[in-house]
Amino acid sequence: MKSDMELMLGNEAVARGAYEAGVVTVSSYPGTPSTEITEFISKYDAGEVYCEWAPNEKVAAEVAIGSSFAGARSMCCMKHVGLNVAADPLYTVSYTGVNAGLVFVVADDPGMFSSQNEQDTRFHALSAHVPVLEPSDSEECIKFTKLAFDISEAFDTPVILRLTTRVAHQRSLVEKGERSQNVKPYKKDIWKYCMMPAMAKKRHIAVDARQKRLAAFSAGAKEDLPFTIPNVVDYAKDSKKKIGVITYGICYQYSREVFKDASFLKLGLTYPLPDDLIREFAANVDKLIVVEELEPFIENHIKTMGIEVTGKQLFTNQGELGTVAIRKAFFGEEPKCEALGEDVAIPPRPPVFCAGCPHRAVFYVLSKMGLRVCGDIGCYSMGAQAPYQGIDSVICMGASVSMAHGMTKAMAQCGEIDKQKTVAVIGDSTFIHSGITSLIDVAYNKGISTTIILDNSITGMTGHQQNPAMGFTIRNEQTVATDLVKLANAIGITDVQVVDPFDMKAFREAVKGATERDNPSVIIAQRPCALLKYVKYGGPAHIDAGKCVKCGSCMRLGCPAINKKEDGSIVIDASQCVGCGLCFGLCPRSAISK
């Protein structure tokens, strides 16, 4: 190993690759497991790379497209569900192609570590006819990102760099290279960049031709290009008597550990697939298998080629694969693992609201009021859990506002008497992402639902990114802040209240009033995330054991810092308590103080 190698996070390596490729513009919306890419980009000099948090992935993609047309290499990064939001521009920029290189980095989340579904980005790529590169470690994250820009320019196409959680959030050794930047001149060309029917019909022909050409190049056809496609064939000795594995990305790493004596076709480019290469590989092995996570994307393609292949009949398309799952599927082997020597009932430990979290107060009140709550995507989705059980639905970014409107309309239409008791709960960043258009729908179509915007002054869930409501950019420069009150007013909602959720009485009154009135309303629950550095509550509180009657009122907050001991006494864990004081007012004996 070379001494100057660095142990680098996959996401940082993507940022590094883009930097070395001379990327000029990066626009993204945060989303696990893709967030750190753009955060690392923002550490490069502002004179070299322009970067921004966009309000959502569609905007991010369009910013990158504009920048590519202008002649600068450009990138947008998002999680898998973010590509649904950016799908509209993706499908059409596939037609126009690019000027300078354009890369969509999309991070899928098999196993749903932090997501609401397990969709497979490769099907978007197939449908939009956009090539997909899939790195399997940090070194490839750098190489493939650079290659993505080269392919983009050589084949006049946007390129998707697809990561999965295990690639994005692994660290492995890399060697850094130098940055080289090559800007292209802008040239007006409506037949290429204005997609109206007459032009788009011509471009669709170009898309199909491009795809065939890239598939052939990927399979080894000669072209006068300064790069090759990283599909690597590695035959075992006596390969015709042995298994041949076709795989890619993290599944390659798992497979290498499991199949010690097999031949490998490791695909760097998983769309379009290299038919001739696959055919040749299949002919040179005894039994062909495909190891892939989520959908049988490669396998289905091979089957359409009339080649016999084993794959998904041995796996589900749910969750992650791993060495154990692969061994079990192909060899029927169970893992030889250690086990506890006696029965221990292990309680689960799901994530919870942090001590001092402003959302705790919101859900404490909402669950006491017994309202129907349409939830949204963010930390506050944990309000669905015990002890609050304060959320009825979670679908996608922004859905809370429009779903509460739909529920309220349906209830009214069907003559339900409690029609006014549905509220939407949405975070500040999520509201800007795609809650605004939903709120316009409520106002425009004479809805009466109540939208509660949890304004904690940050994008919390993904680890603290700036957003337009804060008045700071990704580089922490001051900028204009979206005024949520004025915004609500401007779209026609005048019933707007701003309250501190820690004043639970006032918050409850605000919600009660808003849900009783026969008009659309917005409540902005304003208090910063407790993890923000400037939020200081002055250290832990304690419980006066002499005053405490062990009634458990404070426990109902579900605060991780408040514990009940075996003897029923209640204590505050000083290592966890931040001293926010939310529990003080709940104690009937005023036993909690600092």
Partner: protein, 193 residues
């Protein structure tokens, strides 16, 4: 254990500093001239949930993930987490766990009970168990946050082919300069156990 092929599983509760431990071990492996891969959990699981991090060190490492039955050694920051993840240990593997207890929300709400036989269950397994109150040791060294480094100190004794100088140099490169003394104390406290 030798550093030419060792899988280390680090388990704990979100916010306990598992990521710093993996960063430290990664730096050690790199300085020892080994291949190394680390797999981390980010996002939702960090909010006080159960978290695992994998560190794989060897001549050549493919998968960054440690699956069931693949860990040679487990560093556990909290006893219940050691019990939860023990299936990821190879038969006869080693467990280094703090005896610290952090109650999950289900226990806080009295919907579940924190079992009182966790350490017994671990000790009656086939694994080799080292259990002690690493939190108190860390506090004595100057900060309860140094539990991660105390546990790495214990581990350092087990990986006999990497000399102490490399561990100390890597530690210096991993922790903030102003916290080096506390962490050095914590590391040596673990190493001398």
């Amino acid at each position: 254990m030798k550093s030419d092929n060792i899988n280390i599983l680090i388990v704990g509760v979100g916010g306990q500093g598992t990521l710093l431990a993996s960063k430290f071990l990664g730096a050690v492996a790199k300085m020892a001239g080994r291949d190394v891969k680390v797999s981390e959990v980010h996002g939702m699981s960090q909010r006080g949930g159960s978290v695992i991090t994998c560190v794989k060190i060897g001549k050549k490492v493919y998968s960054p993930v440690i699956d069931m039955g693949e860990a040679d050694v487990m560093l556990s920051f909290e006893q219940l987490e050691a019990a939860r993840w023990i299936g990821y240990l190879k038969k006869g593997g080693k467990v280094i766990t703090s005896t610290q207890k952090i109650e999950p929300m289900s226990v806080v709400l009295r919907q579940a009970v924190y079992p009182d036989n966790v350490i017994e269950g671990l000790k009656k397994s086939g694994a080799e168990i080292t259990a002690f109150d690493a939190f108190s040791v860390a506090e004595e060294c100057g900060s309860g946050k140094a539990v991660n480094i105390v546990l790495c100190g214990v581990l350092s004794k087990l990986i006999y082919d990497i000399p102490e100088e490399i561990w100390l140099e890597a530690l210096k490169n991993t922790v903030p300069a102003k916290l080096y003394d506390i962490n050095l104390k914590a590391f040596m406290a673990g190493r001398s156990r």
